[in-house]
């Protein structure tokens, strides 16, 4: 079975090589003569006012966590889809109950307006 993944390993290695190669090459080949002015952060001719990082709105967090929950739900669907022929009607309805409970959550968040940005 593992042989099937050999091309993927190769792909990852080649991808890393292509990504890192130019960076390394640039570091080695290009001229590099830094001074204090060149290294200072530049902001339209002024000194930098503040940290480049700023606070995110809490709404991103809500969207991300709702995404995770449904992502997990999808993760449970994969093994179910693979064995649905073998587990029969009981297995089918088991997943339907699972989905129903999460649909209740979906209705809740929709009606609450959690999916709206404004």
């Amino acid at each position: 079975m593992l042989e099937n993944y050999f091309p993927i390993l190769m792909f990852i290695l080649v991808g890393l090589g292509v990504g890192l190669g130019p960076l390394v090459l640039g570091k080695i080949v290009s001229p590099h003569r830094p001074d204090a002015e060149k290294n200072s952060p530049y902001e339209c001719g002024f000194e930098a006012f503040e940290d480049a990082r700023m606070k995110f709105d809490v709404r991103y967090y809500l969207v991300a966590i709702l995404f995770i929950l449904f992502d997990l739900e999808i993760a449970f669907l994969f093994p179910w889809a693979v064995v649905i022929q073998e587990i029969g009607a009981a297995g089918f309805w088991a997943m339907m109950v699972f989905l129903f409970v999460l649909v209740v959550g979906f209705i809740f968040e929709w009606m609450k307006g959690a999916l709206e940005w404004d």
Partner: protein, 483 residues
């Protein structure tokens, strides 16, 4: 899985609670704020319906469901009925407080019911996996309930502490469970016991798993040395949430201990007995001494909880049916006492005023003699003074430990109980002999709450006069499950 239909019947009370919790959650979206009493009524109805089905489907025989993951025995049914009663009282006592502070929302009731579902699963869990899922369901509800009043900075801080330490405890429990699973090859509680019995020799990994499981349980109980979260969370959380954390979940923690330690790891009893002994004595000593110096009533009750947990551990320490039954009796009376105690705080607080300081009770007798009298009964009961039920609870636990041969531990516990009586009686002294502070303000609580709280507190006295009935129920249900 061919007897699926029978399986589902066993879970009828759980399904009722789940279905109603989801229904309440959705109904709240379509309801006008002034009609929210419907949500409240439905929540109470859910508890009643669940109690009805639990009672109706009860059989003396032990029933299993879902491939032995779920057990329905007398112990589970009795604890579930107590939980419905406790949750129902919680709903009655918290309604006014929530209305006053703009927290009277449908999600509160849905969350409490989901938490109740988690506790019911814990009580009936016969597999480490089921118990863990129930525990997580309960914990998740409790964390978010503590943070429910989200503009309250203290509550958010308490929720954060509770969450981080609670997640750590869950992790420890899960780590221990995974070691036990690795050594015994089974998640089923009965299979684990059989496997340990057959292999005779105890491997160090198994003991390590046991240590982690006991640590996780102690954390959820709030026993020393895992008590750090209790005072901060009790004080910081809004009083209704403190009431919820401090009462019914303790019953679930008891059931979890019975399932894991008594039914699953009984062959290792010698090992966990020592741990219980240490935690019991330390909890009683540290809980009682710390409670004396508190000025905040909720924080004082938190430390008193730690000492009560110590007494509950005393019952487990004896590691015989007598001890477990006395622990059960203790915890059921403790739940009643703590709901009543926090109920009084809720009764005295009103919009913009929390009766959390011990000094807020000064001269209560002159302001409102009836409430002062109820508080007197509750404090006597917590201290374990004879005519109340608290006395019998302490007595049975210590008797069981004495018979099991823990003489010096019992002697120290009695000494500590005497010291503990000091801070309970201090409250009584302030209520009856100090001059009232502040102007007289009428109690704004509704009639039903006052009436039920009165019956509840008098019940503590009544149970103290006739403890045999509850004692008998506790002993019998435990024996029917443990044989």
């Amino acid at each position: 899985m061919d007897n699926m239909q029978f399986d589902l019947l066993t879970l009828l009370p759980e399904m009722v609670v789940l279905a109603m919790a989801m229904f309440i959650l959705l109904l709240d979206l379509f309801i006008l704020p002034q009609n929210r009493f419907i949500i409240y009524g439905l929540s109470q109805f859910t508890l009643f319906a669940a109690a009805f089905f639990t009672f109706k489907t009860h059989t003396p025989a032990v029933g299993f469901a879902f491939n032995h993951m779920f057990i329905d025995d007398t112990l589970a049914d009795v604890i579930k009925l107590m939980m419905y009663l406790g949750t129902s009282l919680i709903f009655v006592y918290t309604r006014k407080y929530l209305q006053d502070r703009n927290l009277y929302r449908g999600e509160f009731y849905a969350m409490v019911l989901f938490g109740l579902l988690g506790m019911m699963i814990m009580v009936s869990g016969h597999s480490m996996l089921t118990i863990y899922m129930g525990l997580e369901l309960l914990s998740l509800c409790l964390y978010s309930l503590v943070a429910f009043d989200r503009d309250n900075k203290q509550a958010s801080e308490a929720a954060m502490k509770y969450f981080v330490l609670g997640a750590l405890a869950s992790g420890m429990l899960l780590y221990g469970m995974s070691m036990l699973y690795g050594m015994t090859g089974s998640l089923d509680v009965a299979d684990i016991a059989n496997s340990i019995m057959q292999h005779q020799g105890k491997s160090p990994v198994m003991i390590m798993g046991l240590v982690f499981v006991v640590a996780g349980i102690a954390f959820k109980f709030g026993a020393v040395p895992f008590q750090m979260w209790v005072p901060d969370v009790y004080q910081g959380a809004p009083t209704p949430m403190t009431l919820i954390i401090g009462s019914v979940p303790k019953l679930a923690a008891y059931a979890m201990t019975v399932r894991l330690l008594v039914q699953g790891l009984h062959p290792l009893a010698q090992d966990w007995q020592d741990m219980m002994l240490l935690m019991a004595v330390l909890s009683i000593v540290i809980g009682n001494f710390s409670a004396i110096v508190q000025t905040n009533l909720k924080r004082m009750l938190a430390y008193s909880t730690i000492s009560h947990v110590g007494f509950i551990m005393f019952g487990f320490m004896s590691a015989n049916a007598n001890g477990f039954a006395s622990s059960f009796f203790y915890i059921s009376t403790y739940v009643l006492m703590s709901i009543a105690g926090f109920g009084i705080i809720l009764l005295l607080s009103r919009q913009g005023f929390e009766a959390e300081q011990i000094d807020d009770l000064k001269g209560l007798n002159q302001k409102n003699p009836w409430i002062a009298f109820l508080m007197l009964i509750i404090m006597f009961s917590m201290a374990g003074i004879p005519p109340t039920v608290g006395f019998y609870a302490k007595f049975t636990v210590l008797q069981a430990a004495w018979q099991a041969g823990f003489t010096w531990a019992v002697v120290s516990a009695v000494l500590m109980a005497v010291i503990g009586a000091f801070y309970y009686l201090n409250i009584v002294r302030k209520m009856y002999f100090d001059a009232p502070v502040g102007s007289q303000v009428a109690i704004t609580a509704p009639m039903d709450m006052r009436f039920i709280l009165s019956v509840h507190a008098l019940g503590l006295l009544g149970l103290g006069l006739f403890p045999e009935s509850l004692l008998g129920v506790c002993g019998r249900s435990l024996l029917m499950s443990l044989q």
